[in-house]
Symmetry: C2
Subunit: 229 residues, 2 copies
C-alpha cells in the first residue's frame, strides 16, 4: 500500500440513537435545515476532526445531541457507507454507529437549533430519509435486534439501576414478543456477570417491591437469550 496518487475523502460518523420510550422502540432524527435534502429527516452525524478517532467523533455527536456520555450508553459501530455518490456534493465515507441510550431520554441537551424528534423505529423506516440514511437506519436496527440476543446490550436501554421486569420489557418491545416473567427472571439471574444485585428495591412499577440491579461486566452472553431457539 501507500503510494501518493490516491484520493482523499471526508470521513463522517453518523449515529442511529435508539431508545425505549413510551413503550416504543424509538430513534432520534433531525430535520435538515438546508440543501441537499432540506426539510427531510436525517440521522445525526458529523465530520471527523484532526485530533480524534471516528469513535471519538461519534461519541461527541452523541453527547451534543442527547447529553449522554459513552459510559452511560452503548456505542457500537455497525457499518461503513462509501458509495462514491452517496453525498451529491463531495466524497464522504460515513462510519455508522448504533447508540443505545436509556429511556425516556432528555428532550434536548444541546447541539444546534435544528428540529429533532424521537420517532418509533417502524415509522422512521417508512419515512424517506436524507442521503442513504434509510439504509443505515435499517442496518442499525437489525444489528441492535440481533445483538440483544447474543450480548448484554439490552441493559444500555435501562437506567443505571433497573429491575428485571424493566429489562424484560426492553426485550419484549425490541423483539415484539412477550416473555414469561418467571422464566426470564431465572434465566438472566443465573448468567454470571450479567446483572449485579444492589441492596435496594423499588415499587415504581407497582406491586411487590422488585430488587434493583446494575449491569455487570459481561458483554457476550454464553447462550442466546431468546425463547425457542
Amino acid at each position: 500500500m501507500v503510494d501518493d496518487p490516491a484520493p482523499t475523502s471526508y470521513v463522517a460518523a453518523d449515529i442511529v440513537i435508539l431508545t425505549i420510550s413510551g413503550g416504543e422502540f424509538r430513534v432520534l432524527l433531525i430535520e435538515r435545515g438546508k440543501a441537499p435534502f432540506a426539510g427531510r429527516l436525517a440521522l445525526p452525524g458529523g465530520f471527523l476532526e484532526d485530533d480524534e478517532t471516528v469513535d471519538d467523533a461519534a461519541a461527541r455527536e452523541l453527547f451534543e445531541e442527547t447529553g449522554f456520555a459513552v459510559g452511560e450508553s452503548l456505542l457500537e459501530r455497525v457499518g461503513v457507507y462509501s458509495e462514491p455518490d452517496r453525498d451529491p456534493r463531495r466524497r464522504v465515507v460515513s462510519v455508522a454507529y448504533a447508540a443505545l441510550v436509556p429511556g425516556p431520554p432528555p428532550t434536548r441537551a444541546g447541539g444546534d437549533a435544528a428540529e429533532t424528534a424521537w420517532l418509533p423505529v417502524d415509522e422512521a423506516l417508512k419515512e424517506p430519509l436524507a442521503f442513504d440514511h434509510s439504509r443505515i437506519l435499517g442496518d442499525a436496527v437489525a444489528h441492535a435486534r440481533r445483538h440483544l440476543e447474543y450480548t448484554t446490550a439490552a441493559t444500555a436501554f435501562c437506567p443505571k439501576e433497573f429491575t428485571i421486569a424493566e429489562l424484560r420489557r426492553v426485550y419484549e418491545i425490541v423483539w415484539r414478543t412477550s416473555l414469561d416473567p418467571g422464566n426470564f427472571h431465572r434465566k438472566v439471574t443465573r448468567i454470571e456477570g450479567f446483572l449485579v444485585p444492589t441492596e435496594e428495591t423499588t415499587t415504581r412499577n407497582g406491586g411487590r417491591p422488585a430488587a434493583l440491579y446494575t449491569a455487570g461486566p459481561l458483554k457476550w452472553l454464553p447462550l442466546p437469550l431468546s425463547p425457542a431457539h
Copy 2:
C-alpha cells in the same frame, strides 16, 4: 453535519486473509519493502479509489493477493482504525476486513513483487507487525472465532464441495478443540439451509465414502454451534 472546514483523510482497506492449511489456522502477511517499517510484516491493503466503495477496494486487494473473488470466499468488515498518528506520514483511516478463503490457498496469484507468507495465526500474533496491524490482526481473529459460533462462516474455509468431517476439522482447528464426529454430523445436517447435499461422495480422506455438501443460503445459525454452551 456538513460545513466545509473539515479535514480529509486517506481511506484504506486492510485485509486479514485467513485460511486453514496444513492443519493450521493461518494468515497471509506481506514483507514491506520500504519505509516506514521496511522489512516488517504487514497486512495486505490499499487505498480507496475514486469509483469504488471500501468493500470494493477490499475485494480488489483480496483478488490481487490470492486470486479469490468475493463469491469464492467470505469478506467481512471487522473494524475501523482511525487514530490520528497510526500512519507516521499522513492521516489514514483504515477499514479492516477478515477474508475467509478455502485452503490450502494458491501460493501466489498476482499482485506486486513483495514477499508473502502464510503464517500460523498464533505465530503472527507474537510477531511485531507494521503500523497497528497486530491489533487489527488480533481483532480480526477474535471476530472470526466468534463468528464461527453464530454464523455459517466456517464453510468459507472449505472447498466448494466438502464433507462434514472436513467442516468439522475447520471448527476443531480454529477453536483448538475436538468435537464428537457423530454428534457434529447430526447437529449440522439438521440445521435447515446450512448444508446442501450433492449426489456425490468422496474417499479423499480414506475410510468409508463421505457424502459431499455445498454451502446453503443460511448466514446466521439458529443456535450457537459450540459444545457445552
